[in-house]
Symmetry: C2
Subunit: 356 residues, 2 copies
Amino acid sequence: MNELWKKNCRNITPYVPGEQSKEQDIVKLNANENPYPPSPKAIEAIRNFNSESLRLYPPADATPLKEAIAACFGVDAENVFLGNGSDDVLALAFQSFFNSELPIVYPDITYSFYPVWCDLFGIPYETKPLNEQFRVRLDDYKAPNGGVVLPNPNAPTSIGEGSDFIRQLLEDNRDCVVIIDEAYVDFGGVSSVPLTKEYDNLLVTGTFSKSRSLAGLRIGYAIGSKALIGVLEAVKNSYNSYTVDSLSIAAGIAAVKDKAYFDSTIEKILATRTRLTNELRALGFTVAESSANFLFVTHETRSMKALFDYLKTKKVFIRYFNLPRIDNHVRITVGTDEETDILLKEIKAYLTEESI
Amino acid sequence: MNELWKKNCRNITPYVPGEQSKEQDIVKLNANENPYPPSPKAIEAIRNFNSESLRLYPPADATPLKEAIAACFGVDAENVFLGNGSDDVLALAFQSFFNSELPIVYPDITYSFYPVWCDLFGIPYETKPLNEQFRVRLDDYKAPNGGVVLPNPNAPTSIGEGSDFIRQLLEDNRDCVVIIDEAYVDFGGVSSVPLTKEYDNLLVTGTFSKSRSLAGLRIGYAIGSKALIGVLEAVKNSYNSYTVDSLSIAAGIAAVKDKAYFDSTIEKILATRTRLTNELRALGFTVAESSANFLFVTHETRSMKALFDYLKTKKVFIRYFNLPRIDNHVRITVGTDEETDILLKEIKAYLTEESI
């Protein structure tokens, strides 16, 4: 068979998402999903949607959803960009803004999609090591850079930084685009959206997949100056005109408007996070102070890989990364209180069993 | 204000999609949408969907939808790739397969997104002029090429080619990937999917936006050899893991399984297409023999731009392209019989008015 055509195919190592078990009755704490359902108003918007109109293309600019997000953040609809989940938004932003000969910079321990996008788009990059407490060292991020990407709070460390920190980062990087990835900010982090009014090279990205319980609908957004959003729109319209579908637009609008439900969900998750943090520490684990909906957990004497494997046999799924510096850590999503009961019971069983 | 960061931003001319009027009561024949609603079973699948589960990510591989499409086409699920509309699928395919120094080739008159993707990804390309009857000249497509892209039926010409034609194209291009874009094939074209079993460098793309009335849900697919699909999956998983959302998967499965509804919708559209073709010809228009859900229409003595503008004032939207060789043509989507009545009435009024 002739296979010369293969020489022009891309050869690339893709991102590997968290395991999606097909088993039932599992406790799923491995993908940082929200344990609570979406806003009842979002569900109602889907139920009331005129499905016959699905024969038509969605509005390419999805203005009503942009307006709802803009109102939520106190910006204009022109400052809002929408995509098919924040991965789509971030991938487009990398393509749009990182076209320098200089490397872009981001932490050594962070979202593992960043190097994949750099490889895909041929973007030079350099990682900067977090310090021993897994905090970002500002001095490492002084210009000149081809761009800066920082999740705040960071993942999988769960640690967030305040607005003085981000402001200094921006002061140190006036000549490149700075992306702050706020996938987890609603769980107690400090949003940099207000800084987009002062720094027109700042792009803040967000998602409906975590705090708004709509991972299944794929809605991501970015907020920034009109100049930045204009470039993103042009690149997006050169790739795929209609990325957010009609049902997602309808449900997204309802979700973002339901502040009361949003607040009550966040409150419950933060209460469970405090409880889980305290109980794990009481069991001898080291738990980073989390500003996200997950915990970054290690233990001085126990193997976290063994804990991860043990919990899997008990149908409790958490996340383990076999990566330098964090290969004795696990990332545990904050679930419901009932899920937390099961998790803690199994962790205690593991500790007892291992001690025998 | 410091604007040095702008130097690293992409500067690109995006694709401009068909006008989406916000007016009500329009006759919308400008985006090749299906005039009939989606299958009642697809609507039921949305209504019965457990919306609480939207808090979870969709299955990244969307296997059940792949299986449904595979069963429909007589291939294996491993031969099926899914994306956020066929634009997403095509954009990923361009990135995945067109990495040659040699230019890829496609017709001078065709889908206007192709040059946009080439510009976005830095792919060299050459267009090959259609002949005077707007047919593809096979001799222009003889290797060596960096790749071949051909919509079949072609748009906006509406003209389809048979499988002998495509087989010859494949015989002439064994060393590069050949993409046949079958967005419109269900309206009487001949699908090349069976040829994917013989030619492992053939990728056939399709969409749920036209024949399956689901433009609002963004479902596109590609069918090809396991080798081709594997490359596409790796590139897709390097871009965005979850492109097809959970509701789209559920509705897509129901739609593709409802063959009876699909057949009856196609039958109605083809009957209306025949009627509209005949009536337009009787009015003196030249209408290409269409294998799609739209007509490619011109007139020896009348201005099509003027007709387009006139119809817009009557709230009848068709598509006009101000492009070389076809600047006196319009593209008219085949609507319902009622829409066709209004269209023909207004065209007659225009012809009368212009004659006065």
